[in-house]
Amino acid sequence: MNDATETLRMTLVGAGPLARAIGRILARGPTEVHLWARGQAARDAIRAEVPELNVHHELEAALEGAHVVLLAVPADQLTEAAERYGEHALGDHVVLTAARGVGPNFTLPHEMIRKKTCVRQIGILGGPIHARELATGRSINAVLATRFPRVLEMVRRLVSGAPVALHASKDIVGVQVAGAVSNVASLAAGMCDALELGDTARGVLLTHGLVDARKIGMALGATEATFGGLAGLGELIPRHVTSMDRHLDVGAAVAKGASLQEALQQAQGHVEGVVTAMEAMALADARGIELGLVRAVAQVLQGEASPREALEAVLHHSLDLDDPRGR
């Protein structure tokens, strides 16, 4: 088993951009990296792209002797991936996810994993990690939220030597909520751009998004400070400077008159913020939480309000900065 001198073995479940980027970075180092992908085409593509990776067509073989498992799939595929992985999961596996979305009833990614597996030692990767940025090889900053010191220790070993600055947090709920709601804020920012409301309005809308994330997080037991840290504010700022986000494109398309379905088809990828906006509203209604930006985005996406009217209403709404519970 693993000790400080033994080679760490990591298994990536999934073959999306994040898995490929992480696989490429880690396979260059001392970590033995294995990857499982469901489709033959995906496996062939990744073999060609990252030859150092051990690519498997059997999940069991990919997980043989694994110390760390990254379920590198978006939130809408996480339950299925966790269920499949759960067949082979072991109690000493360290399991990571970077999914930024929620499931039905605002189920957070770590809850999706818990509902389908026996694992406990879960780490949430948050903050400004983006596959495209990772792929460039530049140094990145990430938050690792976990309640288990061993998870932090293992991930630190994994990334030692890689251009990754890891920031620890125990607030797994806060980091997940911040990540998920930032996608909703991105949808709004995309709408704002398309409507040419200006940079100031964009900044105010993003601030509303952060306030909404904090309200939801606090209701679910998160720590307030998380939302002002790297997982909250630290995620929003770089995302909107670099504009590398499909959510911006979807928001902009909807603001220009496309239907949600058309906008999602154009985006050709996972836009987790759409589901997050709907689920956040259901949660807010059930718990009596007042959400400004999230409600506006949800109404626009459902065709219940025009983008301009909805966003302008948010811009004229008080931010409730002093009441984190949002009541």
Binding site: D92, P149, R150
Partner: protein, 543 residues
């Protein structure tokens, strides 16, 4: 406990705790001399405040000697002195269960419980022995009894019951006997041992002493290690995870995890030494009373101290034998039931277990739990990791308590009355309503029927979803439920919680109304909760 095990446990306990302290010192923790100085400080402080302690004189002498020895102790002497202090605590804690005494006492059942209650004091009650209530019909044992038997065979069981009354340990002990299980070991407050007769029975029925007035961290370490060792030796335990009786009357949700964590510690130790049956199971049990013996004292304590509740109450109804006798007799006379509901068991990580003792993941797959504690391929203790596992167990136990709570008419009608009082006094805090009764000090009987009926609807829906259990009295109409509750309220308490006067219902003891209604906190009923979600509530209650 078998005498040979008792001695082995004490010796091992002394050795383990002292070794742990020496290792902690070597790792840069507090020095042995500092640990002993702290012990001396905490114990002298306790003895200064606790002048009624029966062992005060001997304890003062012991600690004076420790202080004296410590002054000139070499490093080696300090180690010996630490062992002496640990042994001192260990011997106080250790029970001396005697199988023969158990056989004698349990053969006397029924009405053995009467005999036990009788032991709670009082020679003058002995003469009333023939009138003692026979509780065979009154204690209803239900739930996962078969699984409890199986788990007892497959490993060591920690039974974790809810706690509202000092009668609980007696009821649980009686229930175990009725289920055909051997006695379990349990920690009982030192205040329950002050009567020599009850002390005799409690010790011999498997109780060990827990002195909650002792705040010395070393004492707590010894206590935890004692519980751990008994589990490793295969003795099933009872822990009351609420720590103390629920003052508010609500189901405990914020559980004390210290003792529950000993289950995991014992499991890891068992794995390390390759024990044949290493598994430890946590089995919640929910005790539900229609009336609670000490309700008046407990709710008064809850409200009076607002956040600073007395941790130990040694002058309540339980200490008055006639009250105990009257309470039990009247409960029996009303055909009132005490429900002991055994929940399905969990492993020490919070996974549910099947009847064979296999741990199951959420999809029903068998889990190899030894993997949870491996590091470098070996089972190891890890304080931060293990605390996280135990926190999860606490959450599962809290959920089981809510699920297997048996609600009765006294709870539902109290909830209905409190809802109506709050509705009629929307601007008043709960505490003000309790103090003043609000603008109206009685309620229309019809409105109590209506509100009870509404609540029954909600509760039946919850029951269908498996989120609560309803007592048989709640199968009746709202009118009958109200009538049953009012009859119970009139039974035993100094003043009934509520009373009927013509077509009105008068809340006579509003604190008691709050106490009984609190049993329905935590279910998300459509009325506003009286307690805050974490049951601390007290700030909320202040006007």
């Amino acid at each position: 406990m078998r005498p040979e095990d008792q001695e082995r446990i004490l010796t091992e306990l002394e050795s383990r705790v002292s070794l742990a302290k020496v290792r902690a010192t070597e790792a840069g923790g507090p020095k042995l001399s500092e640990i002993l100085e702290d012990s001396h400080y905490f114990e002298r402080k306790r003895l200064k405040e606790d002048r009624g302690s029966p062992t005060r004189e001997a304890d003062v002498k012991f600690w004076d000697q420790v202080q004296q020895d410590l002054r000139r102790a070499s490093e080696r002497d300090q180690k010996l002195l630490a062992r002496k202090v640990i042994r001192h605590y260990a011997e106080e804690i250790a029970g001396n269960f005697d199988e023969r005494v158990y056989q004698v006492v349990t053969r006397a059942l029924p009405p053995g419980l009467g005999l036990l209650l009788n032991a709670a004091s009082p020679l003058r009650l002995v003469k009333r022995l023939p009138q003692m209530p026979n509780l065979d019909e009154s204690v209803v044992i239900q739930g996962e009894v078969e699984q409890l038997h199986r788990l007892h065979e497959k490993g060591t069981v920690i039974l974790v019951p809810t706690h509202v009354s000092n009668l609980d340990s007696i009821i649980v002990g009686y229930a175990l006997f009725r289920m055909g299980l051997p006695p379990f070991i349990y920690g009982a407050g030192l205040n329950l041992f002050t009567n020599p007769l009850i002390s005799f029975f409690m010790h011999n029925l498997g109780a060990y002493t827990v002195d909650r007035k002792k705040t010395d961290p070393l004492y707590k370490d010894v206590l935890k290690e004692y519980a751990t060792l008994t589990l490793e030796f295969g003795y099933d335990n009872i822990f009351f995870p609420g720590g103390t009786r629920s003052r508010s009357g609500a189901i405990e949700q914020h559980l004390k995890l210290g003792l529950m964590g000993t289950g995991l510690a014992a499991y890891i130790n068992n794995l390390q030494r390759g024990a044949a049956q290493p598994k430890v199971f946590i089995v919640p049990a929910t005790l539900s009373f229609e009336l609670v013996l000490e309700a008046e004292t407990l709710i008064d304590d809850f409200l009076k101290e607002v956040g600073k509740a007395r941790y130990i109450i040694d002058d309540d109804e339980f200490t008055r034998p006639k009250r105990v006798f009257d309470f039990m007799s009247q409960l029996v006379s009303m055909d009132s039931k005490i429900h002991v509901t055994v929940s399905r068991g969990y492993d020490v990580f919070g996974n549910p277990v099947d009847d064979e003792g296999n741990s199951l993941d959420p999809c029903g797959r068998v889990v190899d739990t030894s993997r949870y504690v491996l590091d470098k391929g070996k089972p190891v203790h890890d304080a931060a990791r293990d605390a996280e596992y135990t926190r999860e167990v606490g959450e599962r136990v809290g959920e089981a308590f809510l699920r297997d709570n048996v609600v009765t008419s006294t709870h539902v009608v109290a909830h209905a009355i409190m809802n109506l009082l709050r509705e009629r006094n929307p601007r008043m805090s709960v505490l003000r309503i309790l103090r003043t009764g609000g603008t109206e000090d009685d309620l229309e009987l019809r409105s109590v029927y209506r509100e009870t009926d509404r609540l029954l609807g909600e509760l039946r829906a919850l029951e269908q979803r498996g989120r609560i259990r309803l007592g048989t009295s709640l199968r009746a109409s709202a009118e009958d439920v109200v009538s049953d509750a009012l009859a119970h309220y009139a039974l035993y308490h100094t003043r009934p919680a509520a009373q009927r006067r013509g077509d009105r219902v008068v809340p006579r003891d509003r604190n008691l109304v709050l106490y009984y209604q609190n049993r329905l906190e935590g279910y998300g009923l459509s009325s506003r909760p009286c307690l805050s979600p974490n049951h601390r509530a007290l700030a909320d209650l202040r006007g």
